[in-house]
């Protein structure tokens, strides 16, 4: 049982990385990015393609991908998504849904439907043996640490920096924030840029941990969405806890029956929606 719990927590770390960008974009702009999963897969394939061109360390590629992801997210928000924001959430849902379809088909065209992964020189098979005969993978542990670090960094950014104040101000009252001299369009673009950095990290780590294929995006979106809803919209620590809960529940489901894992997660998600629709920690404060 302890092993199941541990594996669930480690899986939850990965789900947290899937979800943090979503949580950030919703927290600042009230924008639900339905292409979240496909952007994660796009990030994974971008790293795979880069590694196909230059035989360097995947960690170096991941590092180089981060500023590219920020720029991509910034420009996407500035020139596409800002035009969809308003009281009606439908335009942003339609546009991001359209982007999801475009990304899936583009990746299919460029990379075919074959699953691919990033070679990590055996890191994904290494494990640490714990007392009691338990063993946990080094890569999942690393992903978990990155997820906790990313959550803490994001919460710190939100609560302790001028940019975080600006994020919260435009989220609270865009009109008054602009009256203070903020350019909400630039603030939104910065938030999406940061969300895409998290998306790129999630994509690379997903491809290191397992295989990825162009059609994987919607399932990753579902996990991200469930983690955000369980934790509470716009709360980063809530997103982490939601993701961990989802991971643990899935692992327990898998343990009972290999076909039940994903279902178990969905049932917890539905349970939270019914009992506490605002999520467990519904705030963007530390």
């Amino acid at each position: 049982m302890i092993e199941t719990l541990l594996q669930g927590l480690l899986l939850g770390g990965l789900y947290c990385l899937f979800a943090l960008g979503q949580s950030l974009m919703f927290g600042v702009m009230r924008l639900t990015n339905t292409a979240q999963g496909d952007f994660i897969i796009l990030g994974a394939f971008a790293a795979i393609a880069a590694l196909g061109v230059a035989a360097v360390s995947p960690w170096l590629v991941a590092l180089l991908l981060l500023p590219v992801a920020f720029g991509f997210g910034y420009l996407l928000q500035r020139h596409v998504l800002n035009g969809t924001l308003g009281r009606d959430p439908l335009p942003s849902l339609v546009v991001t849904f359209g982007l999801a379809i475009v990304i899936q088909n583009l990746l299919l065209e460029l990379f075919s439907a074959d699953p691919r992964s990033i070679e990590t020189d055996g890191l994904n098979t290494q494990s640490i043996v714990l007392p009691g005969g338990l063993a946990i993978g080094v890569l999942p542990l690393l992903i978990f640490a990155i997820a906790v670090g990313a959550t803490a960094a994001l919460q710190w950014l939100f609560n302790r920096t001028a940019l975080g104040r600006a994020f919260r101000a435009v989220s609270d009252d865009r009109e008054i924030a602009e009256l203070m001299g903020l350019d909400a369009r630039k603030i939104y673009a910065s938030a999406t840029g940061i969300a895409f950095v998290l998306i790129a990290i999630a994509g690379v780590l997903q491809a290191m941990r397992t295989t990825v294929s162009p059609a994987d995006g919607p399932l990753l979106l579902l996990f991200a969405f469930e983690a955000v809803i369980i934790g509470g919209m716009g709360s980063f620590w809530g997103t982490l806890i939601g993701a961990l809960l989802l991971g643990v529940t899935q692992q327990i489901g898998f343990r009972i029956d290999p076909g039940w894992g994903i279902w178990a997660g969905h049932i917890v998600f539905l349970g939270v929606l019914v009992v506490r629709p605002q999520g467990l920690f519904p705030k963007t404060r530390g």
């Binding site: 104040r165 609270d172 009256l179 203070m180 903020l182």
Partner: protein, 235 residues
């Protein structure tokens, strides 16, 4: 003396509905002017037109000699106009101190700083870590005024300072005005309490149905003149 702010024939619309019908307004540097009028007279729309929240034709609003009508709010605050909005509208997820710091985003040089504000409103220093919206109405109004002052404006616009506040709190808020004006700041207040407006201001504009129905020196205007201009009725 050259006007700090002037509007000529200012018009404003909400969609197809016209809210302002040719407002002519002048403001000299260092003046404290009150705008009075009934609900729906166009007072708040006028304030929003000056700050870019409601679009106005460029040449209809001039500030310090420059046409600023229709500029984005961020550009207008950088030029030195700050608004204390109706209903205060503090940022709920920000603390008192963070709300005040948001006012300094425009980074205009000037005398106002956190320390200076805490001297003007000492209670805010005690409550600096609390969420802005957890304060009483009067204290929230102090934060809203402080937030506007943090941009070190040349012109401070205050929309309905006394809205929803107890009389004793209103007096406390207005007691801070002399200290603000002592810096040479020009102030426009929108006020429904006519007696208060007359008491604190040098000149009064009365709005009625989107037009200026009366203007003059506060001490010279009679109750009858104001009643007629305010309601469109004989007193």
């Amino acid at each position: 003396m050259a006007a700090l702010l002037e509007t000529r024939g200012l018009t404003a619309h909400y969609g197809d509905a016209q809210a302002l019908f040719g407002i002519d307004f002048d403001l000299a540097p260092g003046e404290l002017v009150a705008i009075i009028g009934a609900n729906g007279a166009g007072k708040s729309t006028f304030m929003k037109s000056l700050t870019g929240l409601v679009k106005a034709p460029r040449e209809q609003v001039r500030f310090a000699g420059e046409a600023i009508g229709g500029l984005p709010p961020g550009e207008i605050v950088k030029r030195g106009i700050a608004l204390v909005p109706e209903g205060r509208r503090l940022f709920p997820s920000l603390s008192v101190e963070e709300n005040l710091l948001m006012g300094a985003f425009a980074k205009r040089p000037g005398p106002w700083s956190l320390e200076r504000l805490f001297k003007l409103f000492p209670i805010l220093e005690q409550k600096r870590r609390q969420p802005g919206t957890s304060l009483s109405g009067g204290q929230q109004q102090m934060v809203a005024i402080g937030r506007a002052l943090m941009s070190n404006p040349t012109l401070l616009l205050c929309d309905e300072l006394s809205l929803g506040l107890a009389p004793i709190v209103i007096r406390e808020i207005y007691a801070a005005l002399p200290a603000i004006c002592a810096e040479g700041m020009t102030v426009v207040i929108v006020e429904q309490d006519v007696a208060m407006a007359q008491q604190v201001s040098q000149r009064i504009y009365c709005f009625q149905e989107g037009k200026v129905s009366l203007q003059g020196r506060s001490c010279n205007l009679t109750r009858e003149q104001i009643s007629q201009a305010y309601f469109g009725l004989d007193a």
